[in-house]
Amino acid sequence: MKTVIQDKKKDKKPFSKKLIKIWKKNYMAIIVLVPVTVHFLIFVFYPVLFGLFTSFTNISFRNFANGRWRFIGLENWIDVLQDSNFWQSMVVTVKYTLLYVPAVMVLGLFFAYILSRERKGIRFFRSVFFLPSITSGIVLAAVWKYLFASDEGGVFNAIIGKIGLGPIPFWGDGTTVLPILAALGVYMGAGSLMVYFLGGLKGIPSSFYESALIDGAGKWTIFSKITLPLLKPTILYALILSTIGSFQVFDVINILTLGGPAGESTTIVYLIYNNGFKLGQLGYAAAVSYVLFIIIATITFIQYRVLGTGVSYE
C-alpha cells in the first residue's frame, strides 16, 4: 500500500517541473520545428487545401482582389471535362510523352551502357552528355529557337538553303512542333538518366558477368539476359519519373510556341498557365491543376505497386 502511494506522489510532480523536463529534453526540436512547421503549414500545406477550395469557386482576375468571389460547386470541374481545349491538351501531353519518354529512356540507357566502364577519357564524355541536364531550359529553348528558326536566320534553314532547299517552317505545323519540342526534352533529359542508369549498372555485381562469360555468353545475350532484368527496378523508377516530368513540361513551350500553332503544343501545364494567369480564370485553372494532380498521383501509385516486386541481387 505504502509504495503505491509513494509512486502516485512521484507522478504528481508540479506541472511546471514537467514542462521544464520536456523542454530540457526537446528544446532543440521545439526551437527548430515549431517555426518550420508554421512555415510549412502556411506555404506548403494550406495552399494545397486552398487550391482545392478555389477550384469550387468562380475566382478570377476580376474578383479575387475585392474578395467578391463565391462558391459555385462543381461548375469548374464540369467545365474542364466538357472543354475541348482541355481534351486537346491531354492529347498533346500524351503525344509529347509518347515521343519523349521512349527516346530519352533508350538514349540514357545507351549512354550509360557504353560509358559504364572506367577508362581513360570516359569521364569527359559523361560530362558532355550531362551538361544539357543542368542547363536552364530557357537557355536551351533560346538556342533551339535559333537553330530551328523558320526564316533564313535559323541555323538549319541556312544549312538547307546552301543545297538549294527552301526554308522549312519548323514552328508552323503541328506535325513538326511536337517532335522538335520532344527532341529538346530528350537533349535535356538523357544526361541525368545516363547518370542514374550508371548508378544502377554499378550496383550489379561483376560476378554475374564473369560467370556468364565463362558460360560463353555473347555481349547481346549478357545485356538482354543479365543487365536488363537486373536493372528493372532502376528502369521502372526512371520511367515513372520521366513520365511525370513530361506531364509537367511548361517552360520551353512558353518560350518557343506559346502553345501554338492552334493549340497543337498546348500541354496541360501550359493550359493552366494560359487560362489562369493570362485569361484570369483562376478557378478553372485550379480545377485543371487538380486533374493533373490526380493523373500524377495515379502514375506514382502504379510506381509503388510495380516497384513493390523489386529485384534483389542476393
Partner: protein, 276 residues
C-alpha cells in the same frame, strides 16, 4: 563488361562517342558564336557556324543596359539566399527528424514528405491569390525567398543521410556536457559536408533556373531574373545575337559551378533521383 574489344571495335566505339559528343556540344557552340554575331549578318547568313567577324556589340549593349544588369543581380539574389537559409534549416530539420526522439516525430515527417507527392502546379493559383492579396509579395523578392527558405526534398535528403550517422558520437558529445546546438554545429555539421554540398548545388541550380514563379509574381521587368528576362527577349524579338548572348550570360555561372563541383552533381543524382 570486362570483354576486350577488337581494334576495329575500338575505332567504331570512339568515333561513335565523338560524333554523339559533337552533336551534344553543337547547340552550345552555336550559342557562343551567335552571341558574337552581328544580327545584320545573321539574316541572311552566308556562313552558319562562325560569324563573319567577331562582333562585341551585343556584349556592349547588354552590359550598358541597367535592366539587364538588374536581371543578373536578381538571379544571384534569388539563387543565393535560398542556398544559405536552406543549408541551415534543411540540415537542422533533417538531423532532428533522424536522431531526436520525441512524440509525433514520425507523424511530422510523414506530413512533410507527403507533400512531395503533390505537383507544384497545384499551388500556383492558391499561392497567387495569397501572395497578391494577403502577403503583398508582388514585385518583391519575398515572393521567391520566403517560400524558398527551406525545401522538403532537400530536408528529406539530409534526413536519410543523417540516419546513417553513428549514435555513439552524438551521445558522447552530449555526455561531455555540450548542448544540442553546440553538438550540431561543432560535430554533426562537419560530418555531413557531402550532402550539404549536394544540397547547396541543387538548390542553387533550381533557384538560378527558376522561371514560372518569377513570371507570375513579378510585373516589373526590373524584378525579373535572367531566365525570365532572356525568355521574354526570346518571345518578343528576332534579334538572335542578343538572345544567344542572354543565354550565354545565364549559362556561365552554372557552367563554372559544373566544372569545379562535378563530383557533387553526379552524387546528387544518385542520392535524390532525377530532376522533375
Amino acid at each position: 563488361m570486362n570483354t576486350k574489344m577488337s581494334k576495329f571495335g575500338e575505332i567504331i566505339y570512339w568515333s561513335g562517342l565523338i560524333i554523339f559528343a559533337l552533336l551534344f556540344i553543337f547547340p552550345f557552340i552555336m550559342m557562343i558564336t551567335g552571341s558574337f554575331s552581328d544580327t545584320r549578318t545573321i539574316v541572311p547568313r552566308k556562313n552558319f557556324w562562325i560569324p563573319e567577324y567577331i562582333y562585341y556589340g551585343n556584349y556592349k549593349n547588354f552590359f550598358s543596359n541597367d535592366k539587364a544588369l538588374s536581371w543578373v543581380k536578381n538571379s544571384f539574389i534569388y539563387a543565393i539566399v535560398p542556398v544559405i537559409t536552406g543549408t541551415f534549416i534543411n540540415t537542422l530539420v533533417g538531423y532532428i527528424l533522424a536522431k531526436k526522439n520525441f512524440k509525433g516525430r514520425n507523424f511530422l515527417f510523414l506530413l512533410y514528405i507527403s507533400m512531395m507527392l503533390v505537383p507544384s502546379q497545384v499551388s500556383l493559383v492558391p499561392n497567387y491569390v495569397m501572395y497578391t492579396t494577403v502577403f503583398k509579395f508582388t514585385d518583391s523578392y519575398l515572393a521567391i525567398l520566403v517560400p524558398g527558405m527551406w525545401s522538403i526534398s532537400n530536408m528529406f535528403l539530409m534526413r536519410q543521410y543523417a540516419t546513417t550517422l553513428p549514435d555513439s558520437i552524438i551521445e558522447a558529445a552530449l555526455i561531455d556536457g555540450s548542448g544540442d546546438f553546440y553538438t550540431f554545429f561543432k560535430i554533426i555539421f562537419p560530418m555531413v559536408k557531402t550532402p550539404v554540398a549536394v544540397m547547396g548545388i541543387f538548390a542553387f541550380l533550381a533557384y538560378w533556373n527558376i522561371y514560372l514563379p518569377v513570371l507570375i509574381y513579378m510585373n516589373d521587368p526590373g524584378m525579373y531574373n535572367l531566365t525570365v528576362g532572356v525568355g521574354t527577349m526570346v518571345q518578343l524579338d528576332g534579334n538572335y545575337g542578343m538572345q544567344m548572348l542572354g543565354a550565354v550570360i545565364c549559362m556561365v555561372p552554372v557552367f563554372i559551378l559544373y566544372v569545379f563541383c562535378q563530383r557533387y552533381f553526379v552524387e546528387g543524382i544518385s542520392l535524390t533521383g532525377l530532376k522533375g
